[in-house]
Amino acid sequence: MKLRSRHLLGIAALEPDEIFLILDTAEGFAEVSTREIKKVPTLRGKTVVNFFVEPSTRTRSSFELAEKRLSADSLNFSPGASSFVKGETLLDTARNLDAMAPDYIVLRHSEAGAPHFLARHCRSSIINAGDGSHEHPTQALLDAFTMRQRKGHLAGLRVAIVGDILHSRVARSNILLLNRVGARVTVCGPPTLLPIEVERMGCAVTHWIDEALQGADVVMMLRVQLERMQSGFFPTLREYARLYGLDARRLKLAAPDAIVMHPGPMNRGIEIMGDVADGGSSVILEQVTNGVAVRMAVLYLLAGGTEGEATA
């Protein structure tokens, strides 16, 4: 089978069989990264523009590596050095990029819906690498890949997502994906950092981390940003850490073989304590490793690839 759209704008547009197609395809690509020569000719001659309007280290490096390991030519384009800061609109910038006929535009943008907007105006395949507080589909896919790798399955998994859900695109994409594959999600955070009616996206809600952790197979901690304190979402980082920080003692409430995830970058001592981040339950670096394979799978499948013939 193939993906139905030539864009990856969000998990919201993916059917469960497409999610599994990406995860299964990524299995094959994960192996490529363990070889002596970490490169396959799959996307030779294809061009990718990494258009990062909002700063990112991890996601951009991961996409870049995925592109290089597939032998695609990639171009990094960020606003600091471009006409974008001279007042050109996103639409004009994108049309100019598109006129150079790249096969893909990987977009990271501070505003929700920016990739959807480009997809209406560009010929290239648009890949959403994070749009505002909306979606971060490749993150959710690499998280699911990591969960499946460790747990063997996704259906029935109990997943707790803890922290600033309101501003988190990672949380939204994960809630959507995990619902589609039959996992059970509980989100946890102070009411000020939970989006209104989030339960209608299909998740349980609690304000107490101990309740969220109870029996969880997967604990996903989200980054809390200092500016949220300044905007009055919670009183102090100290109190936040006491109410929502994950330490080894609290982790004992989760299932005995629970795994701990974090999309990074971590605030050690605030949402996650060092003993957990570096402990045996942490799969945080595996997430990063798997990110490359998942993004290779996405690039390959969006080019019209089918499962099974990719990694030869």
């Binding site: 919201a12 609109t89 996103l90 639409l91 943008h109 505003e111 929700a112 819906g113 920016a114 959807h116 907007f117 749009d131 505002g132 507080s133 909306h134 979606e135 695109r169 939204r172 989006p195 209104i196 009616e197 989030v198 209608r200 996206m201």
Partner: protein
């Protein structure tokens, strides 16, 4: 100058008339509404099968002139109004410069006289520079022709200033029109707070930010005996507040836009910037409450909040797009299709909401076809099928979420002061 409209169905709720009659217009006034009026040299227009109503008034439009003539001008806005079946419009003061003085009021009226065709009623600012700090010269603007005061687009945030404005405006007997939005609570929200905003990752504009200001204004109106008109009311709780205030006999009026009656916040789902306006499209529960408020007479007027923006300005990221949609050329068809044919209200009630009510809000001697009234008439074809097409707009802008919609019922002729200013029969 004599004009005879023959054989139309006359719907004039102010005089309780609904029947096939002729209407004679002479020298800018209605002189007769009777069966079989002899022509006697008058220009005769046969409107058999059509509906003849008192001229519709849109008491909330943005004509953008002076200052943003690439979006709209008084001339194009007035032309769009005529095409949309409106014989008069009240234009909001958030131009550049803002209309906070006699000179800007006079400029707008001069443009209207030169290019108009429909009546233009300028709304002046409540506060100088629309800054919310000190009262603007309401008396001077009223003398020049302003027929209401508003800092539209902004709420009069200071309760003290709002109190003073309500007290002071009593001199002139015109309303203070408030855009009820507590900006602190809105905090940069771009669409209605709720499930759709949560799914889209867009910052929510909570209904309560409107509700607290509506309640505040009602309390101030009670104390000052001033007239508050709530602009573009959009929430179920605001409707309930206005209903309570009216029961108490307070001088509270309100308007609702066609888009808040027809769409809910799910219209934003594809990040359509033409579904972005202020106040935002609300939940389905809010929309249904507004329909109820139309029917039970809580709502005084339907007004479009016609807010033209250039296509380039709307072709940006959703959160960066300006608020607002055009409405003059879609309002009447939307109302006929969704409200009258849709069974929400009857035709007489719609005429009240588009003619009688708006005239009463601004204290204009309009909204009736009684002999002696001004010869402003809107003619409707209840069965005319229309497809909303930007290419046919007279407005300079086409930022509408209704493009491509097929609707039943349309305004087909507009008569202002006894003169036909638009004819699409």
């Amino acid at each position: 100058m004599r004009l005879l409209l023959k054989n139309g169905r006359v719907v004039d709720p102010a005089s309780g008339v609904d029947g096939v009659l002729d209407v004679l217009l002479e020298d800018g006034k209605i002189t007769k509404v009777e069966p079989r009026i002899p022509a006697r040299g008058a220009q005769v227009e046969d409107v058999e099968g059509l509906v003849v109503c008192p001229g519709f008034l849109d008491i909330h439009v943005h004509l953008r002139e002076p200052g943003q003539e690439w979006k709209e001008t008084v001339a194009t806005g007035a032309r769009a109004a005529a095409a949309g079946g409106f014989t008069g419009v009240a234009c909001m003061p958030n131009t550049i410069p803002v209309n906070d003085s006699r000179s800007v009021t006079e400029y707008i009226l001069a443009q209207a006289r030169e290019h108009g065709g429909v009546q233009v009623y300028p709304i002046g600012c409540v506060t100088k520079g629309q800054r919310g700090e000190e009262l603007a010269e309401m008396g001077d603007m009223f003398a020049a022709g302003a027929r209401g005061f508003s800092d539209d687009g902004r709420c009069v945030s200071s309760s003290l200033l709002m109190r003073r404005a309500l007290e002071y405006s009593r001199i002139f007997g015109v309303p203070v029109i408030d855009h009820c939005e507590d900006p602190v609570l809105v905090d940069g929200g771009v669409m209605n707070e709720g499930e759709t905003a949560t799914r889209l990752g867009l910052k929510g504009w909570p209904g309560v930010a409107e509700d607290v200001m509506v309640e505040r204004d009602i309390l101030l109106a009670e104390d000052t005996r001033g007239h508050v008109h709530i602009a573009h009311m959009s929430t179920r709780r605001a409707a309930a507040s206005v209903r309570r205030a009216k029961k108490k006999g307070l001088r509270i009026t309100c308007e609702v836009t066609p888009h808040h009656l027809v769409l809910n916040d799910e219209a934003v789902s594809d990040y359509d910037t033409n579904a972005k306006m202020n106040p935002p499209l609300r939940s389905e529960a809010d929309r249904l409450a507004l329909l109820e408020a139309l029917a039970d007479r809580t709502v005084d007027a339907i007004a479009t909040d016609h807010a033209p923006h250039h296509g380039d300005e709307k072709s940006v990221e959703f959160s960066r797009a300006p608020f607002g949609i055009v409405g003059l050329e879609t309002a009447v068809s939307l109302c006929l299709d969704r409200l009258v044919h849709g069974g929400v209200i009857d035709l007489a009630r719609l005429v009240e909401l588009l003619a009688v009510g708006p005239a009463a809000v601004l204290g204009l001697a309009k909204g009736s076809l009684r002999p002696g009234a001004d010869a402003d008439v809107t003619v409707l074809d209840l069965e005319r099928g229309v497809k909303v097409d930007a290419a046919r707009f007279f407005s300079k802008s086409a930022n509408s979420p209704f493009l491509g919609w097929k609707l039943r019922g349309a305004p087909v002729a507009t008569v202002v002061g006894g003169r036909i200013v638009h004819d699409a029969r």
